[in-house]
Amino acid sequence: MNLWVILAINSVALGGLLFLLSAGFSLIFGLMRIPNLAHGSFFMLGAYLGVTFLRIGTNFWLAAILSGLGIALLGGIIERLFLRRLQGQELAQVLVTLGLSFMFADISLMIWGGDPIPLSAPSALQGAMQVGSIVFPSYRLAIVLVAAVIAAVLWIMIDRTRLGAMIRAGVDDAQMARVVGIRVSRLSSLIFCLGAGLAGFGGVMGGPIFSAYPGLDGDMLPLALIVVILGGTGSLVGTLVGSFVVAFLYNYGQALFPELAYVILFLPMLVVLLIRPQGLFGRLPT
């Protein structure tokens, strides 16, 4: 009984982290059609940057925000320097982002070494909270809250503001959006920076649970892919639901059928791809 509750709590926390990771991936793929295979690297680099900020004595939350900003800046440079020139060439973008992810892996190994580096959660959140007979680790609860706040902010930004409407107009009909005066390419850069920054921020948030280690990028990328394929690209609700579905499948799958963990994770993705290729909440392009 207790195992189930612990798994559930862990799954909810992992779902929050997966949302931070996948929201950016989904925005970038859904709105800009860029399959960004460096997205796992953004998560890992965020975690490593967080390590460095924490080492120089930065407060945890500030470290998370600064790392997010740093990765957003890196994303902006990549978008301007490479991806902008490869607009519409998805295979080229796959290769460029994959190549970059290998380069980032090497560079991180050089800077931060090969041993896993744990990030410690803010001391105020290192304990646990008890509600009735259930004990919540405080930090995992905090992750869920932060993810919820970010989901709400993203939803308001995309669905309820003029900026969001301009972004969606660019997705609907980029040519026409430009003709009515919307600076589509500037908005694309903004979205890419935002998506990269969220992944970087997520990397620090995940640090106390996963640590920063070589290979974190490759561990996270497939999860982001599954979330986005399940939920549907460009759909925030889909990403949110997909994150929690994947988190539960991942944790319960590993606990109950450890030898089949990846089957349990990828099988739903294959089924969705076959019967509903736009994802559970995705829209078919009009």
Partner: protein, 239 residues
Amino acid sequence: MASDALSLEGIDAYYGDSHVLQGVSFRLGEGHLLGLLGRNGAGKTTSMSVIVGLLPPRRGRVSVFGKPLQGLPPEMIAATGIALVPQGRRVFRNLTVRENLIVAARPAPKGAPTSWSVEAVFQAFPRLGERHKQSAGVLSGGEQQMLAIGRALMSNPKVLLMDEPSEGLAPQIVAEVMRTIRRLKEQGLSIVLVEQNANLVVDLADDVVILNSGRVAVDKTAAALKSEGIDLHQHLGVF
């Protein structure tokens, strides 16, 4: 010399290897309505694409109130005061009616006689106001056309390009669209009206340009065209 609201001089444009506009020149006087006629494939829509910057011409120049638009991207051309009601309407289908309008909003230049806002558009097209929360994709064809016109007006343009606004609409809706165009002209807007249906244009236009296979075949005032009784079918008939 009074500057033209819009002028095209010797425009050559290509789609790949096909030479779709061959030395096209015409001018739109300030406050005038120019009817741009021609068969399917004569180059009418291509001319619109060139003006708004979607298809950069290989030769020639486009100017708005004497200011050349050379090399400007579409979003910058929009800022010079040109708005397009495109062929096929092309409203943003996943945006609400209101969002379609606000994304195109641009403040009116100083001293402009009219200033368009969401409320003003809803006043002009009450049906859009009633449906402001709905997705543009679920509107009827006529409503989408109103929305496309409203969206163009939201940028408070000096030059309005309308590409076949009557296409695919029921006759009473076409009449409503034409009344709207007449009203906009009376407010002093300079308008290019692209049409296949010459009868819709000749009564409304000051000047008429007929394109044929990418060249200007006729460029006359509407009055001259009417008095000379030129055989429009020669240029516009399908066969």
